[in-house]
Symmetry: C2
Subunit: 389 residues, 2 copies
Amino acid sequence: MDRFLNDNHMLMIPGPITVPPRILRVNSRPMINHRGPIFQKIHEYCVDGLKKIFKTDEGEVYIFASVGTGAMEACVSNFFNKDDRVLVLINGNFGQRFAQIANVYGLNVDTLEFVWGQYAEPEKVKEYLSKYPKGTYKGVLVQHNETSTAILNDLERLSPIIKEHGALFVVDSISGMVAAPFEMDKWKVDVVAAASQKAFGCPPGISLLGVSKEALNRANNSNLPRFYFDVRKYHESYKKGQPPFTAPISLYFSLEESIKMIFEEGLENFQKRHIVLRDAVRSAVKALGLKLVSDDKCASPVVTGVFSPEGIKPQDIIDNMRKEFGIVLAGGQSQFKGKIFRIGHLGFIGATEIFATFAALELTLEKLGYKFEKGISVKAAQKVFEENM
Amino acid sequence: MDRFLNDNHMLMIPGPITVPPRILRVNSRPMINHRGPIFQKIHEYCVDGLKKIFKTDEGEVYIFASVGTGAMEACVSNFFNKDDRVLVLINGNFGQRFAQIANVYGLNVDTLEFVWGQYAEPEKVKEYLSKYPKGTYKGVLVQHNETSTAILNDLERLSPIIKEHGALFVVDSISGMVAAPFEMDKWKVDVVAAASQKAFGCPPGISLLGVSKEALNRANNSNLPRFYFDVRKYHESYKKGQPPFTAPISLYFSLEESIKMIFEEGLENFQKRHIVLRDAVRSAVKALGLKLVSDDKCASPVVTGVFSPEGIKPQDIIDNMRKEFGIVLAGGQSQFKGKIFRIGHLGFIGATEIFATFAALELTLEKLGYKFEKGISVKAAQKVFEENM
């Protein structure tokens, strides 16, 4: 049986994810003029909704036609000057990407790297920054959820440390936003990136940037070259209810529908559901006797990393899951390549997908020679869902 | 009757345009993993197809998740060094945008501006460049089709002049590509930008960049900062059949379908059809006694600009067309604002849309007090289509 040859996949990767039918449907809505009144309403609905999701009254949220990396570049190119010193907290692949981008723009980049699978320990960040006079670092860049190592950073505890130093607090929440609680105003986040194909459950192609008042001031004084991702252009144009350039119309339809669905469920319920999904997955993995990549205290609500059992290649697990069941899992990146596989559990999914994934994973692991009691992981997941029904 | 309240619009603007049903349908196809084998096939089909459309064997074509302006920025940020002297030929709004972007990146920008509605006269470009030693300008930037003034530049005649000077030949063909003949290799075009929502008939959100070998060499020696639009990343990643970042999957489905449809019709037929559409529209406009923006010798095959009759505001024409008929026309930009309206005629459309547009335009003009013989413009369009059946 090669389930993979049809389109009925279950994308259990940490984005792009399975897009729910309601969103798929609006994605084929006929085009409208992006300079006309119907589009303007959709644009304004999205911007208002995103501000509620980002939890900001004081800041702004801009919508880019790009995937997440574009918004990461915007985090760097808008708010600094050449040779500005910045600190990048690195918990995995995307932390490294932040450092690369900052280097490309001629910033003076220092990095503070943590063991992969562990979060950015606030005490260590505090200790590090205390060695430098306040304001040494113009910005501290950090992932909210680091997809490659399946960890969630504690932004609430990092915030006072970073703000105390006088740095811009710059967050990549591309895979965290909506799924994990986020408080832009309360946590004094200055810049935050997000993207459509993660928990928003849309196709890839829209990225988002939340920008505080202070960051917007910095943007007015930054000397780095940028045009397409220049937040000043978005800021001016949004005053007229208009995107500055042609908008990715079908993806706007998707985003509008996603925001409606999030509010129908309730943002808090949406986030609680992700905690239950996370707990079910972790409980099922533990029941199988497999080792988790991240500690409980910093476990990501959207993706779980699992070390492959001794003697079994993660790629063999991934290939069998795809071929036999049409279930798509992700491999490891960088130093985790060939060591782990990752299960995404984000967006508009529930117990159904988790049950199916683990029932299939059990058959896969058995086929590859791993020993365990059949049914044990599904039972563990059932227990978590039962407790949360 | 307010036709505008439902979704059944006819977008007769020069992009985004009415997306044909086949493309709309694939745009709601379920997501697939952008790192998996199904996506790789689609990616490679698109890149191969685009090379055939761009008419290049020697160059490369890269696919960005962005709208056209992103590809325009890539035209500048990849191939030059700070303070490089470049010449921008300006025929309208998008020529000005090219100059703005080049300024933002610290290039030394000279402009050669032409009367709006006329093309970049090759003799004048030759005369201008002859005043400077060869190689003074590292690049000459020009629009293929300037959407704002509805003109088509003669790239074939500009080519030897620009190459003789030793400059990179950089072309914005965002609204020209596929609809107007284009020969990347033969015309020695070094860099060319295109986008999905023009004659490709897709939703906006994908832009394209054709890059010659010489331009790719320049990219390796350019010191301007860029990351998301860095062609070197695309070049390396494409060798493995992979986009460097998450791909805009639904828009890739659309692009694949569009390329299939273009080849089914035949690229030459596709372009001939646009000539007929152009001639029908211009003939109908002339029959109404209205003044065209562009001369016959440089008339755009995708958009026609029309001066509003004395005493009638273009916005009133546009509003009535939209409200009564659900037909969306475009206004003028910059110095043409409030003076002209524009009719887009590109993508997968035919006589039907032109007949409907002019029948509706006649009723609109009559209502606004303009005098003419009813039916005369539709008859003129009929004649052109009849001659080409």
